[in-house]
């Protein structure tokens, strides 16, 4: 009576074809995307060390890594969110609002900085929860919702501090944010970030939750039928994203010793770029954390090296944009070419025999 679900995907032929193409990509190009991105990263590091002056110095490594901390932090929850097929464009605004809140509280509340940090992370979680409620509770597209909260949170961060900046944070704290591990030039803050990355990696790749994330990213209906609470899981992902945004806000403030309304403006695009560059599919359901970490590092290395090579910082956005486009166009183009070759071979066969 109903459809021959075995053969033809009910809605349209093109979808089936694209599904097949994607599948071919999965087995071919994308199965090795992690390896490829790591290889590109190594090549980039090598080239930069050889050809760019001052790249391979301890001081530069320290700055490179420090610059990457907020990006790396935000990319972790973003990976999980994109794996489920959603997106959170409000992360950078969350960083900005957290930063100005921290500044305003420090300026006027008289609370201890420890307490302020805890509060800021909590507020971040609340900001994430707002996204979560709109997306899972009201069933709105996360893209539209987080574009809204992107503007809202950024606007609020200007409301909190106006165009002034708070800079008089205790020197002990701001120095701690950039301090290196004794005896090396690696910033100490890298250690907790790595631990956090490890935790996210384990959750994504070796827990029931991770399995559920991939399942709902590919097919949330099938996931629901398998007992996955899709809405609840997504809600908590947004909360985590917000809380991590709070953490990144604290780091940003201390690192630059400045709480300003425009902190981290536009960073959301870099985060999304890093995640997609790391091989996570924008359609959800595919990608891994190792690739994302490599993607973050690759972005950092490229920008740092070009900056050292005296390329205008603003013009570097070409690099980010191009990388983003390449990372989504390339897998599809490869899959297309493969499929075409495959078809041609199959067509050629009968005429030969």
């Amino acid at each position: 009576m109903a459809h021959d679900s075995l053969y033809a995907a009910p809605p349209s032929g093109a979808d089936t074809e694209r599904g097949a193409g994607r599948l071919a990509g999965l087995r071919g190009a994308l199965g090795t995307w992690d390896a490829a991105i790591v290889a590109v990263l190594l090549v980039a590091v090598l080239l930069a060390s050889l050809s760019v002056q001052n790249f391979a110095t301890g001081r530069n490594v320290q700055f490179l890594l420090l610059d990457l901390v907020p990006l790396a932090l935000l990319a972790l929850p973003m990976t999980l969110i994109v794996v489920t097929g959603e997106i959170d464009l409000s992360v950078a605004s969350t960083v900005g609002l957290s930063s100005t809140l921290m500044g305003q509280l420090w300026l006027s509340s008289g609370l201890s900085l420890e307490l302020i940090c805890v509060l800021v992370v909590l507020v971040g979680a609340v900001l994430g929860a707002v996204n979560g409620v709109f997306v899972t509770g009201f069933g709105l597209p996360s893209l539209a919702v987080t574009i809204g909260t992107l503007a809202l949170y950024r606007g609020l961060s200007f409301v909190v501090l106006g165009d002034q900046a708070v800079a008089d944070f205790p020197a002990g704290w701001t120095a701690a944010a950039v301090r290196a591990v004794p005896g090396t030039s690696i910033p100490a803050v890298v250690v907790p970030v790595l631990l956090l990355a490890l935790a996210f990696g384990v959750v994504l790749h070796a827990t029931p939750v991770g399995r559920a994330l991939y399942a709902m990213g590919n097919n949330d209906e099938a996931a629901t039928f398998a007992g996955v609470s899709v809405a609840r899981t997504k809600f908590w992902l947004f909360v985590v994203s917000g809380a991590v945004g709070g953490l990144a806000g604290i780091f940003w403030t201390l690192r630059y010793a400045s709480a300003r309304g425009d902190n981290a403006t536009g960073l959301e695009l870099t985060v999304v770029t890093a995640v997609l560059l790391g091989g996570v599919s924008i359609f959800g359901g595919r990608g891994g954390l190792l690739g994302v970490v490599a993607g973050v590092l690759l972005l950092g290395v490229l920008r740092n090296a070009l900056q050292l090579a005296d390329v205008d910082a603003n013009a570097l956005t070409i690099v980010t944009g191009t990388l983003l486009i390449v990372s989504v166009v390339l897998p599809n183009a490869v899959a297309d070419v493969r499929a075409r070759l495959h078809r041609r071979r199959r067509r050629a066969q009968p005429s030969v025999s």
Partner: protein, 353 residues
């Protein structure tokens, strides 16, 4: 559900008469009309409240400023409507505007004698080229327009910075006749606004009255069905991006004419306001419904909010937050309306059974 069985003739009666004696109108049309009426009411209320606080808000000069201020946003919002109706989005409009604006200025710098219509055509052409890049990449990559235009948002802006290389172009570098275009009025109405009106009327009429315009709605409403009905989906989507690029180019030229002072940052972050205007104007972010008129009204409303905040002596930093809140409110409201309509239609077909 096929809860209709014996009552085939009776079922059609399930459609409640739209009110005694009134002409029958489409439900969709009625909903849209409600939306546009609501926008007008909101606009009226806003103007009333602001005027009560400060009667200069309705002075000729202030109205002229308002019309001048909203013209560019109106043009961009109308272009964005074309894109969103097909279930896509173009985030690169701000960057296209900036690029074209700077290019226009540079053109006058390089060839001072260029008549302004030529500059206008070149600007629109450059915008269209950017649109071709967007549309072409989307066709190749088969990924959501969001990702591609996020990438080109960066890339176009990067090209802009690279081109500008820190330079600024001033009004003195541009011919007087061109600058007049930006500030002249006809019968008290700024030329810029008249141009915007023409764009609104043309696009609005196209979307409403032409086959290919209606096909855009079909594509956004149900892409699979659109393909099955033989609509050239790929070609239409490409065309829409080109048209939107061209309109962004037009906006860029007008921007140059209006402000005179140009650097590479012109139009940064404008894309959010554009999407907000369209969404507030009732263009459903998931395609298939909305009108150019609504989007234009949305743009006018957003601009008016901006200037009334100033008149009401509310911290201008609130403006962006208000934009964000409006986006959330608009999509939330749409969702609510859709749910209620669905419930009503469901109830109706049940009664018919």
């Amino acid at each position: 559900m096929s809860l209709t069985d014996t009552g085939a003739p009776a079922r059609a009666d399930g459609d409640p008469p739209p009110g005694p004696g009134r002409p029958r109108r489409t439900l969709t049309e009625r909903l849209l009309a409600v939306r546009e009426l609501g926008l007008l009411l909101a606009l009226g209320a806003l103007i009333l409240v602001t005027t009560l606080r400060n009667d200069r808000f309705l002075s000729a000069q202030s109205i002229k400023d308002l019309l001048l201020g909203c013209a560019i946003l109106v043009i961009l919002a109308v272009g964005q409507t074309l894109v969103i109706v097909t279930r896509n989005v173009d985030l690169s409009v701000g960057s296209i505007l900036g690029l074209v604006a700077f290019a226009t200025g540079d053109l006058f710098l390089a060839a001072p004698g260029t008549p302004w219509p030529v500059a206008l055509l070149l600007g629109v052409g450059l915008g269209a080229v950017c649109g071709v890049i967007n549309g072409g990449l989307i066709a190749v990559a088969k990924v959501p327009a969001l990702v591609i235009t996020l990438g080109t948002l960066y890339a176009f802006r990067g090209v802009d910075y690279y081109w500008a290389a820190g330079r600024q172009i001033n009004a003195a570098d541009m011919p007087r006749s061109f600058l007049r275009l930006g500030n002249q009025t006809v019968l008290g109405v700024p030329v810029l606004f008249l141009v915007a009106l023409v764009v609104v009327a043309a696009v609005g009429c196209y979307l409403r009255c032409y086959r290919s315009g209606r096909e855009l709605y079909a594509i956004g409403s149900e892409p699979a069905a659109a393909r099955l009905s033989g609509i050239p989906v790929g070609r239409r989507v490409l065309a829409v991006f080109v048209a939107n690029g061209a309109l962004a180019g037009l906006a860029g030229v007008l921007y140059a004419a209006r402000f005179g002072t140009l650097d590479a940052a012109a139009g940064s972050g404008l894309e959010l306001q554009v999407v907000a205007a369209a969404v507030v104007g009732g263009v459903a972010i998931f395609g298939g419904s909305g009108s150019a008129y609504g989007a234009a009204l949305g743009a006018v409303l957003l601009t008016t909010i901006g200037s009334s905040l100033a008149v009401l002596r509310i911290d201008p930093f609130w403006q962006q937050a208000v934009v964000g809140a409006l986006i959330l409110a608009a999509i939330g409201l749409d969702r609510l309306l859709a749910l209620r309509t669905a419930a009503r239609l469901r109830g109706r077909s049940l009664h018919g059974a």
